[in-house]
């Protein structure tokens, strides 16, 4: 563990990523206690201070109805991280199991499962999510559902590739000769060797999930007001550029920082965990 942290620390970029991620996570977790205006994540208006430029009172300015942008960004981080965690908690195990069985079992199981995966992969991810959201009511839950549906095939393919190559290894042969069950070989022998790649990808994916969710909200298909969401905030403020620049720029920067942080951290993890490209 210490050695891993040292390697991470030796690479300035991953260290920076780690720090960013830690800050964001802490901010999201401690949101109710650290936001300057804890109530501003809801249906609150304060027209006296609407559309104010960044000042001592509001470090990132206020939005059109007077809510503090900094506070809303922090709450939006909370929502984004929750969305990311929920999406990944469902899509990763689902995709991994599909990929694991396809990769190890081979034969018709492999063909059927991977063709199914290919079908999902052949649709551009955002298009699929938009299509789903067009049909469903735009709520946070449905947004999570849509993103989950488009996410699992990537893990299926990732795990499939690793499982297929691991199945040729000597330790798998040893387990087969001993007569271990298929379930044991898949989950206790092969899956642990897939974990480094899965964990690395999950970290990188947090950033991507945030972007996809923000894109959906930007198009009005994600979470609805008054819930704060980085994408919606950027969308709302877009038509007031460049005058009330703070309306879009700060949420945009918030997205950037989150994605950047997770990407750098993911790259660092890739190095520690020794994941091949």
């Amino acid at each position: 563990m210490i050695r891993s942290l040292r390697i991470l620390a030796a690479n300035p970029m991953s260290l920076f990523g780690l720090i960013l991620v830690v800050i964001i996570v802490l901010a999201a977790v401690l949101a109710p206690w650290i936001t300057p205006y804890p109530t501003h994540n809801g249906a609150v208006v304060d027209f006296a201070f609407a559309n104010d430029a960044p000042s001592a009172r509001n470090w990132m300015g206020t939005d059109l109805v007077g809510r503090d942008i900094l506070s809303r960004i922090i709450y939006a981080y909370q929502i984004s991280l929750v969305l990311g965690i929920v999406v990944l908690s469902i899509s990763v195990p689902l995709g991994a199991v599909v990929g694991l069985f396809a990769g190890y079992a081979g034969g018709w199981v492999e063909s059927v499962l991977m063709r199914l995966t290919d079908v999902f992969l052949s649709v551009p991810p955002l298009v699929l999510a938009i299509a789903m959201m067009g049909v469903l009511e735009p709520t946070l839950i449905n947004a999570m559902l849509a993103v989950t549906v488009m996410w699992w095939p990537w893990y299926a393919r990732l795990v499939y590739n690793i499982a297929r190559s691991e199945r040729e290894e000597g330790y798998v042969l040893a387990a087969e000769v001993i007569g271990a069950s298929t379930t044991h070989i898949a989950f206790r022998e092969i899956l642990p060797n897939c974990l480094p790649a899965i964990i690395t990808k999950m970290t990188l994916d947090m950033g991507f999930v945030i972007i996809i969710a923000s894109s959906l909200s930007f198009l009005g298909l994600g979470v609805q007001p008054p819930t704060p969401d980085l994408g919606s905030m950027v969308a709302e403020g877009a038509r007031y550029l460049p005058d009330s620049w703070w309306l879009s720029v700060f949420p945009g920067l918030a997205i950037l920082l989150a994605v950047f942080g997770f990407n750098l951290l993911g790259d660092g993890l890739r190095e520690i965990l020794g994941v091949d490209e």
């Binding site: 050695r3 040292r6 390697i7 030796a10």
Partner: protein
């Protein structure tokens, strides 16, 4: 007798998180023109990294710390630039590897790879000239139907065939020094025997010096004129092959020799555990000529 290769007090260390790991502790060896010299040792002895230093490959690694003098054909490699060292590879010195099929590029035909090798010596050689020359070189290594082989890919040919192709390629530009890293280890034993005979004949014809790196004492005995025995980054014994096999002086050499099973059926030897005797000072046998 001129020295094709002269290594004096070569030291190598790798810088890591925990500090400097020393791998070679002052190796000195030389190869005369036309000689076949073997570097014998087990894995981790440092014989492979020595070959990479001679080829100028390890110098590119950031974490490598190399000291000592390496001279090739009278020129000091240690002071050369990366591109100068690169210019020597494939032309003045070349290498053949343990697994011939994987050492050849799988996406290019044999002919294409041959052309690339020949062009290192004669840039801009035409395809026709290169193909003709390659076919001749393949015939020299007793490959029947060279033109078919030139149009094939490595995975379509047998291991033995690929080994011959690799030898032909390595010798195509008439290098002064050939490095052979465990040649034939990946091959069947009958094929390995043929390959070694072929290699010996060719290098004798061309007057090429050879540095053979191997852990297989039988192969070394049949191929090399002189031997350096390496243990943990140090040369522990050196001398003519006959002399070393006849009267091994160093404890490590004796352990190695006694550990090899004999086809005469002398039984399984008692092998000593690693002892401090293995770190005893070097034993040198006088040259016979």
């Amino acid at each position: 007798m001129s020295r094709i290769l002269d290594i004096v007090d070569l030291k190598l260390g790798f810088k890591g998180y925990a500090g400097l790991t020393e791998v070679l502790h002052g190796m000195s060896l030389h190869i005369n023109a036309g000689e076949r010299v073997a570097l014998v040792g087990e894995s981790g002895s440092g014989k492979s990294v020595t070959a990479r230093i001679i080829l100028g490959l390890l110098q590119e690694t950031r974490t490598a710390r190399i000291a000592g003098k390496v001279s090739f054909d009278g020129h000091d490699i240690s002071t050369m630039s990366g591109s100068q060292r690169a210019a020597l590879r494939g032309t003045e010195m070349s290498m053949i590897f343990q697994d011939p099929t994987s050492a050849l590029n799988p996406v290019f035909t044999i002919g294409r790879q041959f052309t690339e090798v020949l062009r290192r010596r004669v840039p801009g050689m035409s395809n026709e000239t290169a193909t003709a020359k390659a076919a001749q070189l393949l015939a020299d290594v007793s490959i029947p139907d060279p033109s078919r082989v030139l149009q094939s890919y490595a995975f379509q040919l047998s291991g033995g065939m690929n080994q011959r192709v690799m030898i032909a390629m390595a010798l195509s530009n008439r290098p002064k020094l050939l490095l052979a890293d465990e040649p034939g280890t990946a091959l069947d034993v009958t094929v390995q025997a043929q390959t070694l005979t072929l290699m010996r004949d060719l290098v004798t014809d061309h007057g090429t010096s050879v540095l053979l790196i191997s852990h297989n004492l039988g192969v070394v005995r049949e191929f090399a004129d002189r031997i350096y025995v390496v243990y943990r980054g140090r040369i522990v014994e050196s001398g003519p092959t006959k002399s070393i096999f006849g009267k091994p002086g160093h404890a490590y050499t004796r352990a190695l020799l006694s550990a090899v099973p004999r086809i005469t059926g002398a039984g399984l030897p008692e092998v000593p555990e690693i002892s401090d005797d293995f770190l005893a000072p070097m034993v040198t046998h006088e040259a016979v000529s």
